[in-house]
Subunit: 195 residues, 2 copies
Amino acid sequence: MATAQRKKASKKELITRKASAMFREKGFPAASMRDLADVVGLEAASLYNHIKSKSEILQEIIFRIANDCNVHLESLEGNGMTSIKKIESLIRFHVQMMLTRFDDYCVMINEWIHLTEPYLTNFTTQRRNYVQKMESIIEEGVSNKEMRPVMPYVAMLTILSSVRGLEFWHRSAKKISTQVMEDNMVNYLINGLKK
Amino acid sequence: MATAQRKKASKKELITRKASAMFREKGFPAASMRDLADVVGLEAASLYNHIKSKSEILQEIIFRIANDCNVHLESLEGNGMTSIKKIESLIRFHVQMMLTRFDDYCVMINEWIHLTEPYLTNFTTQRRNYVQKMESIIEEGVSNKEMRPVMPYVAMLTILSSVRGLEFWHRSAKKISTQVMEDNMVNYLINGLKK
DNA sequence: CCTACCGATCGGTAGG
DNA sequence: CCTACCGATCGGTAGG
């Protein structure tokens, strides 16, 4: 029984992982449950012994990684680091998420529009809170005189967009190692903030 | 006859414009021809008096704006500007495209995956050429000693990604004016390049 | 986990 | 430009 449960859970994990790769490649609406079943090695109907619906898979992928981002950001709050260090940690975290959990991260940033209510509102609310907290850290750094007088909103946008840009890099022939890429991104983005 | 032609052309233009907005909002696969017909004020079948297929609309949107980007980039080549000025012009051009032709620009950067062959290969080839030319300009600026020793690939990625990030800004409540936004982006990104 | 199948919706056509 | 309709495919269910 415990074994059966575990088997079932891991099969669900397999389905979710394959779905994530497929949603990233084709986009959520263009990825069909029949294609997914083929990749997993089942008939389409059999998928429904493991998952409730196509939407449920999308929800699990997105909220799992969104939650990890939130947890990391909260760990930064009031931990005594300088604002610059906090932002550096945030950049490194996002770059690592993008590189080590590529499919999930891309699905979150590109496919969240296909969430249905109430999940859609839930997600956009979480995201609004996230970027506001991030802007607060930058604002703090500016009034601390740790950072140049950048507009927090513009800095936040540039940082998150640049991480997102790694999607293009990951897809293309990558002659640069991931560590070099991470350090280059951090340098470029942090140098834009430092006095 | 000339009038009929013009009327037909403008109706096609209307369809394309509404389609662009719809493709951006919902994504290409999730936007149905019936929804589009509703917005235009026709029956779905009647759309096909003006356009050949759903795919054709996507192709026209994407290659029209991609072509404008290519023309601008070619106008920079060997025009006597410094490398920094060339990149500043490129950034301003992209920011303006994003802000003044928001739907088309977003469809190009987000929906190109849904092009079918041979258009898909055509597009990715054009894009590869584009980023290579852009990297050449940055490389030139670095060996000129005009720019700091950045990696051209990383700088290119950061610049294009940051422009893309304006999609998020455009969607949200925009308290910042477009001119201020453009100048802030240019300053941030150009300062990262200057010595 | 499969076979068989559902209603809904898709892009697109015929014919007027 | 519409009515009527096509075959294909979609997400998902019943029943075993």
